[in-house]
Amino acid sequence: MFLNLGFCFHKKKKCFFLDSQCYYVFTDFKKTEWHAVASWTWDAQDETCGICRMPFDGCCPDCKLPGDDCPLIWGACNHSFHLHCILKWVNSQTSQAHCPMCRREWQFKE
């Protein structure tokens, strides 16, 4: 309507998309409150832990809470496991431990 009349009542306001354009409806983002939802995931190649077979986004059998309480750890071979799982594995080995996936000597990634 106001376009036809040749003026824009938004002229004085700061617009985010294109400064020169007139808006039919204006959303002031400064007054907007946006509550978003996300999920978190481990940035790993595999989906499940090769030792306990549980999903990484869950937790190891000994833990109750996923995430910080049951973190993932990477080996030098780039295979990842639940920290608790690989520690158990390493401790159970009498000699030098090997990666359960690739059998290479297990070393924590630096």
């Binding site: 106001f2 959303t27 946006w34 509550h35 996300a38 995430g67």
Partner: protein
């Protein structure tokens, strides 16, 4: 004639006549006719002393010849004749006027009439008895050794003759008159007693506020009380006289029936009056008190007036004995010192039983309302409990209550919430009456059956258990603070129970027993009589609710979905109530079952922390560019998705600045939390935004999808749905549904586009175009009709669809099948890929879904294909 007639019964030695001489016969004849005249004048009441002497000589002459029985018979038949002519007919004449009274209302006059008539007939009777005494006297003067048995026999023959005469001529309305009389008198008596009570109370109040002198002086006040009692005494004496007169004319049982029925009638009216429709006070006490003060005192006084056995405990019997026992009783409240006679005790039991039964019937008839009003109505429940303990008529309660349930509650019109609330109240109320739960079981069964057939039952149960603020169905959750969940209430109950009378050792044991019991393993809790009742009591309500659902797993599952939805709608991370609820559920259902809910709560706590950290990190960053947004407007909830119910993901393209904000936020997260990263679920969340139009500004709280749609209209006034779908990334059918929100708010308008590219949506620029009231528009905002979490029902539906074909096939083959048979058949045949692992309740809810889709029919407990 008379001679033959009356002598035929007795042993008349007519044979003697033959052996007698003529002189003797003449003597006999003379005496016999002399007897006739003297008896006649005696009974007529105008006999002189001479005539009485003549009578004696005639009697002795006749006796001499062994004709004593002839004399007796003649005398009695003369008395009867006299009574027939006089007493009986005049007696009934008194009541002729009342023959046609309608509705048994006889008015005041009947009292006079009855008393008068009875007085009269008693006098008549006394007179006739006096005549009879004269005869006895005459007979005795002849016989050497006077036997009292002769006298007794004669009087009893006279008495029965008199009674049978009256009985055979009894007008049908006389018993009714008696009933009316006693009813009136008892009411009068009751009124006197009531006034007395009031006076007593008034005096009590007065004297409480007085000093000692006044109290001494106020002793004069007792005069009033005495007067009250004397009025009472007079009344009882009057009634007593009537009863005594009735007894004397042989109407003993008729009189008793009359006053008994009047007493019961009055008692019934009193019970109705006291009980009323008020369920919040106990009435049993006042009923018993009334029985004690009115009918029992009356009966006590009456029986003692009549000389029936009443023994006084402390007071000695006066020499005058039976004539005026009332006068001999010095205490103003004469019930206290009297050791009640057996008769009174029996009366007391009869009256109390009747009162209990009457009150019980009244309360049972209104049980539905009483339970609606529970626990405010618990006094009425307590009364009912006592009544039932006395009468043992629990089955009456069960029958009547079930039928009112079916009629009033278990109908399509009642909401599931209301039914559940009434169910819980019923459990609570009946548990008080019947701790063993036997009748509760019978009453609860139809409700449970009915609820199992409703689709929203599980949801309502879980809501009721966990949510205090939400779906209260009017009559709320019973005791405790409004806004409390049922679970909260059960817990408080338990705590208060624990705090009463158990020491600490018991505490923990008991709690453990309770926790064990609340797991509802099929085997019963070991019966420890000390603990059993307490723990079982608690389990009842929850257990019975879980019983409707089928298993605690289903309940927890439903709660998890509900919790997920609640948490996803939070924007302020305030989850105190949810934490409390989950804690309570953990106590009842065990930690393990609530594990996933706990992780969900933990996600919210973590999200809040992460959100703060990200904002701190951002503030140190560089100045915002022209089109950049501050991170302050963004908050987020970060889920451990594995532990949440399935969430419906929808594609969505967000406006550029917002999208940029989100990816910055995700990057920061990754920086802080490496090696974890964020994946946005862009369609989820809550957006509060303000839209500014030419002539107005409006605030809305909507989903990101809605926000993304409306923001597209900043650049372009009209969009066709195809283009808009492309711009927002929303599938076109979803888009067309979502746009409806803005149309209903008057922000957009649907217009027919010229192109065939679907619908055309146009911005309503100013309010004058909208045709809508602004205040109305401002009200609504967050009516989110679409759910982001798949409901348990949807999930089940999805999982069950694979069996649908199988079920249809089964029904095609078998025609119709009961729920259980379908269940068993599925279990038997669907053993692999995937095996059938659903519960009976789950199957039932799936089948009722198919019924509502009109694929199946449910008739007489059987499922069949819809034709």
């Amino acid at each position: 004639m008379e001679l033959l007639g009356s002598s035929s019964s007795s042993e008349c030695n007519l044979g003697i006549l033959e052996t007698l001489s003529d002189d003797a016969i003449e003597e006999i004849t003379e005496s016999y006719s002399g007897l006739f005249t003297t008896v006649e004048s005696l009974i007529a009441g105008d006999s002189s002393v001479v005539e009485e002497k003549e009578l004696v000589s005639h009697v002795s002459t006749l006796c001499k010849y062994g004709l004593a029985s002839l004399v007796r018979d003649h005398f009695l038949s003369s008395l009867q004749q006299a009574f027939d002519k006089g007493g009986a007919s005049t007696f009934w004449l008194h009541f002729d006027n009342f023959r046609h009274n309608q509705h048994s209302d006889y008015g005041e006059e009947i009292h006079q009439a009855l008393c008068g008539a009875l007085e009269e007939i008693s006098i008549e009777k006394q007179f006739l008895e006096k005549c009879l005494s004269t005869l006895v006297h005459a007979l005795h003067s002849f016989e050497e050794q006077s036997s009292d048995s002769e006298r007794v026999e004669l009087f009893s023959r006279f008495q029965s003759m008199l009674s049978s005469t009256l009985m055979t001529t009894l007008p049908h309305h006389f018993p009714e008159i008696l009933h009316w009389y006693f009813k009136e008198k008892l009411e009068e008596l009751s009124a006197i007693m009531n006034n007395e009570d009031d006076d007593d109370d008034a005096q009590q109040l007065e004297s409480d506020g007085m000093d000692l002198d006044d109290k001494l002086r106020s002793k004069n006040g007792e005069m009033d009380v005495d007067q009250g009692f004397s009025r009472h005494d007079d009344l009882v004496k009057n009634i007593g006289k009537v009863v005594r007169n009735l007894r004397s004319i042989g109407f003993t049982s008729m009189a008793e029936n009359a006053y008994a029925s009047a007493i019961f009638l009055l008692l019934k009216a009193k019970v109705h009056d006291l009980a009323g429709d008020d369920y919040r006070t106990s009435v049993l006490g006042s009923i018993k008190e009334w029985i004690q003060t009115v009918p029992l005192q009356f009966l006590n006084a009456l029986l003692s007036y009549l000389g029936d056995s009443v023994r006084y405990g402390t007071t000695t019997t006066t020499p005058s004995g039976l004539t005026s026992p009332l006068a001999s009783c010095p205490s103003p409240s004469f019930s206290k010192v009297v050791t009640p006679s057996e008769g009174i005790v029996r009366w007391k039991l009869r009256l109390e039983y009747f009162a209990y039964e009457t009150l019980q019937d009244l309360r049972i008839a209104k049980l539905f309302e009483i339970i609606v009003d529970y626990p405010e109505s618990s006094p009425a429940i307590e009364d009912l409990k006592q009544c039932l303990e006395y009468t043992g008529q629990h089955s009456k309660l069960v029958e009547s209550f079930i039928s009112s349930l079916k009629y009033r509650l278990l109908t399509a019109g009642a909401s599931t919430n209301d039914i559940l609330h009434q169910y819980v109240s019923t459990i609570k109320a009946l548990r008080a009456i019947d701790p063993a739960g036997v009748f509760l079981e019978a009453v609860g069964e139809p409700i449970r059956d009915y609820l199992r057939g409703r689709k929203d039952t599980i949801k309502c149960i879980v809501t009721m258990l966990t949510d205090g603020s939400g779906g209260g169905g009017g009559n709320a959750n019973g005791s405790g603070n409004p806004g409390d969940s049922l679970l909260e209430e059960l817990m408080r109950d338990e705590e208060s129970q624990e705090n009463v009378g158990f020491d600490d050792d018991f505490h923990t044991d008991d709690k453990q027993a309770w926790i064990n019991a609340s797991r509802w393993e099929p085997d019963p809790v070991e019966a420890d009589p000390l603990k059993g009742s307490l723990s079982q009591r608690k389990v009842d309500i929850l257990g019975m609710l879980v019983d409707i659902i089928g298993s605690k797993e289903q309940l927890v599952n439903e709660y998890r979905v509900m919790l997920a939805e609640k948490l996803l709608n939070k924007t302020d991370y305030d989850i105190d109530t949810e934490i409390r609820t989950v804690e309570l559920l953990k106590i009842h259902f065990g930690e393990a079952s609530m594990q996933r809910c706990e992780i969900m709560l933990n996600d919210l706590i973590d999200s809040k922390r992460v959100n703060t950290n990200i904002k701190k990190a951002s503030q140190t960053g560089t100045e915002l560019g022209e089109s950049e947004l501050s991170v302050d407007i963004l908050t987020s909830t970060i889920l451990s998705t594995n532990f949440w119910p399935p969430i419906q993901d929808e594609p969505l393209v967000l406006p550029g600045p917002i999208d940029k904000l989100l990816s910055d936020y995700a990057n920061r997260y990754h920086e802080i939390k490496t090696p974890r990263k964020l994946l946005w679920k862009k369609n989820l969340g809550t957006v509060k935004l303000e839209l500014q139009f030419e002539d107005r500004a409006m605030e809305f709280t909507v989903s990101p999808t809605h926000a993304a749609i409306i923001m597209q209209f900043q650049e372009k006034k009209s969009w066709n749905s195809v283009d808009l779908a492309a711009a927002t990334g929303i599938p076109i059918d979803v888009l067309n549904r979502r746009v409806n929100l803005w149309i209903s708010k008057g922000v957009l308008r649907e217009t027919r586009g010229r192109e065939s590219n679907g619908n055309m949506y146009t911005l309503v620029e100013s309010i004058s175009d909208s045709g809508k009231n602004e205040s109305e528009e401002l009200l609504g905002g967050d009516e989110e009709s679409e759910r982001s979490i798949a409901s348990v029902e949807d999930q089940l539906r999805k999982e069950m669809t694979i069996y649908e074909k199988f079920i249809m096939g089964m029904l095609t083959n078998f025609g119709s099948m009961a729920l259980e048979r379908i269940h068993n058949t599925l279990k038997m045949f669907c053993v692999a890929d995937p095996s059938y692992d659903k519960s009976l309740q789950q199957l039932q809810s799936f089948l009722s879904g198919l019924v509502s889709e009109e694929k199946l029919e449910f008739r007489d407990g059987m499922y069949l294909l819809k034709k």
